[in-house]
Symmetry: D3
Subunit: 232 residues, 6 copies
């Protein structure tokens, strides 16, 4: 099985980290194809960055589809362009927010999300409303760190995220925490251990859920909304 894991921003170091997380999660025999959206913003911090990432992201998806892949993970927590990717794709497609919050809903009666910047909070709340999980989401929180701080050695980003998770446990009485940025994937194990509750990274979960869907022979529905783009 071949799974495309595409980073919608143009920061290659983040792609490397994401691919590493996907490979660590993947079953034996699964090939992870990493890709970086060329021409996209260096990080996705809000609606404009998200919009500007789409052509680069979709070019990667189209190219991979041509070569033949079994499923796609879009590795940004704002779930950019998922519908468009699904129109291009044959196999299943998952954004990491959708995968992570649906996983959280299977492990706990409630969860909170910890993301990077405050401006991403309403974006994520809107996604969760669309996924129908607002009633299980206690709160979307920001650790007040820019996305790329997660790439800087020596930054205090890790500590801030840990502190925010502990606040979520205490104040929100949540039973699980979802990490709200692909760039946090490498912290998952450490954060789970530090906090004692399920800490969910969307990259790993989305990769395995794509395996799950594709493994059952399931593909993206092609009869209406996700049919291939109309030729012009």
């Amino acid at each position: 099985m071949k799974i495309l894991v595409v980073n919608p921003n143009s920061t290659a170091s983040m792609t490397a980290k994401i691919v590493e997380a996907a490979e660590a999660a993947a079953s034996p025999g699964v090939t992870i194809l990493g890709a970086t959206a060329e021409g996209a913003p260096a990080s996705i911090e809000g609606h404009f960055d998200e919009a500007m990432s789409l052509p680069g992201l979709l070019a990667r998806v189209a190219a991979a589809e041509e070569q033949g892949i079994d499923g796609i993970v879009v590795a940004c927590f704002d779930d950019p362009g998922i519908g468009a990717c699904r129109e291009l794709a044959t196999g299943p497609v998952l954004g990491i927010c959708e995968a992570a919050v649906k996983a959280a809903s299977m492990l706990a009666t409630s969860f909170s999300v910890v993301t990077t910047l405050p401006r991403s909070v309403p974006v994520i709340e809107h996604l969760i409303h669309g996924y129908g999980l607002s009633h299980q989401c206690r709160r979307v929180r920001s650790a007040a760190i820019p996305v790329l701080a997660l790439e800087e050695e020596g930054s205090d980003a890790r500590q801030k995220i840990r502190a925010e998770i502990l606040r979520a446990i205490e104040e929100d009485l949540c039973e699980a925490v979802v990490l709200g940025c692909a760039g946090m994937a490498d912290l998952t194990a450490w954060l789970s251990e530090e906090t004692g509750i399920p800490v969910i990274d969307g990259v790993s979960v989305a990769t395995r859920m794509i395996e799950a869907l594709a493994g059952c022979g399931l593909k993206t529905s092609k009869i209406n909304a996700y049919a291939r783009p109309n030729p012009k």
Copy 2:
């Protein structure tokens, strides 16, 4: 007051029609600046087209902002890139779906939407869910016509839309109908007369609502989600 009315697809004849509708609706003294998204698909029929329209759309918005405008109408019923436009904009921004369904909710206890292709139905349902108006929306219907058929002389598109509205009145018991495509703007008056209920065109309504918001001195909030894009 200067209002940008931007057509996110690249079909200039549709832009002309849209600008005409906006100008017909605008108050005296309001200047409508029409714009066509360069490099965008010829029509927006689904998620992929929508995604591919965004850079052209946002370039138009950014350029207009630099020259100074008071508000923006995005003239496609899928409301593409609204959040991104709001980040770029100083004044208010409206998509025509949001404007039209909120207008409908002020004129009637229930409404149905008549759009072009079946594949747009779930896109619009998702938007209406996000706008919180699912409980007033009886049904989103498709007249089963491609977007560009609305540009062809001699097509039977008009008759199909009229027939679908009559079906909506009879089957959905709706009290108003929203036209689910910018390209239907020129049919509004005729359809209202033929059907005897409020038929709402998003282009006109969005233009006047932008006037309304800007006329009250209201601008897009800049303190969190719609703050200007972070520099990279």
Copy 3:
């Protein structure tokens, strides 16, 4: 264009203030017809006051309809009698809560409301639930001031409202604030400046939205719920 702006309470000084706000907001060429609900309570503070305001309010609406008007603003944040007014009206009708929260939803991803008395909070929450905007409303807050304190010179009502808005920004992380009483209309500009976020007054916004709807030729639907009252 002639717009009726009717104050459902019987306090003429409040009507004067409301009319002033509507006139300041209205486009050139629009005539604002102010009206005070005779026999209504001096202020609308809860369900009973609201109910007792209706005959006076509806008499004003009926009289104005007979003389010919293009639209109606009901200038009380509890949106009293809107359905009944819509049955009497030919043109569009808006309550200031509906207008203001729908405007807020166009300018920001979230908003809070600041009203006068605690007892109005559940009334407004119920309205917002009905308008489908609970998911964008962070909180309805009370500044703990009686409605008529807004009419008293030298009262500290203004300062209390300003303080409550600042609390809303800090505690609710809202991106806009809606003023929850028609009597606050004259404070809007000052409060916007003091707080740096969109502060939305329903009187101005409703007036301009009525202009917008009527300007597009849109009228209240007459085919079912808002048909004229059945003769007895």
Copy 4:
């Protein structure tokens, strides 16, 4: 125990029928005080009628409160003025729509409502949305009969209601039916027998539920929204 059952319209024959239903339902030892809203419309068919019924209705409630009563039933399916009545009342207050749909939700997983005129359908849908029971309500249907036809001897209203219930069972797959008008109270037993499913009349149920609440010593909360009206 003394329960006020107030008919918000001015048709005395309907009051008589309602009181009869309430008395038939009431426990031994309960006194039903019937009242007709003076000055109200002859029937409540829409928002305007509802609004115009309120002063007469509230006068009856205020008078009864002064004499001492234990609870109040407002016997119109549009639940007019319930909040205002609760402000005036010491004991519990129920509208017959609220009582009937909450009862239905206890007896079946889904129900449909059969009311008189089409124009009442959206009014009732809005109420049910507010009561949080939209997910259990299959459909609100109209039998297309004016309210007062229920008072006319020899009218075919009964047969139309029966037919509409049978359609509801077949088309909506509902498990119970709620009668959507106080004037249908005398048909309940006959309709239950004819149709074989629970047919719920709001007058009887509301009367017994008021008994239930008052019998437990429960009263309307007086600490915020339903506190007594503020003196002016």
Copy 5:
């Protein structure tokens, strides 16, 4: 009228208390048949306990049905097995959570629940979501006491519940409080007096609501979901 009040746990002292509450609430002429679920856990603290209580609970219900009863109260706030009981029952069936929160929704615009252990909070939130009353429920709170502490003389459980109700009033701005455990039934009067707001005990309310439904001749619908169990 004969009403079965069944305690789904196996603690006989709690059954005694529950029966006492039901008898105190019941109308003259109503016989309360108490029953304890044999083989059930000593207290219902979470999903497992709830599941393990069902065979004992259903055996009691089946036995009572055979002897002839008019309605059933399931006296545990997790509303265990209500659907199953309804399949067995001829008359109406109520869990005390459903009865209590629906009663609260009739007396106040908002309520909070005070239950025993934190682990019951999500269970109750889920129930309230299913009953459609999340928008009226301010918060489900735990007083952090094991269920059986309510049976111990000299425990500080009463004081903890009282303190939690006072916190609910202050922090949640709720207008009523629902007691979230059958074992709190004997504290209702004292807590109402101490706190000055409606304090609602599900045992009493459910008993009287069963009387209300049965008194109107209403029975559990037998045409679909609650039909008698299919023979195997």
Copy 6:
């Protein structure tokens, strides 16, 4: 990895079929442990059957936990006892309804469910409401066949299911179909081929999703609602 797949009814032939489906779906190296709930009803057709299946189901789960397993699939579409199983479990637990509808929501914008008996329809609707996916579920349909007809050779059950799926596609305009009974697992491939849309079987999907969650090191949260049962 060892996964328990437990059939909550006592029909061994159904367990065999379920285990076969799970084994066919499972990755190499995964061991499927099949189990049948002893003492449970022969089929789960409604709430009573579901309740009576729980002790047998939970005994199987407890036994498997003692021996060490990595995750659990509860193979009945009514998702019986999931919360209780989660309290007992260390690893993740999924019911096949939850797994299937969440999978459907990842592959299509809308889906319908085809189940066996009409009486299961409201049960499944209630589950989907709880999972937050009502807005994506077009309709829950019944093929009007008893559960055990799926076990009978020569029954027309297969044809009835196929016909109902075709009706769902035509009438509901759904983009995917979920099979609403564990006993349909062996029909999935045939039905997909016959109908041309994704046909989703909960047994396969749940098995692979458990693999996905467990493969990421995720376990059921133990800090509140799903903590181990309190000792008595």
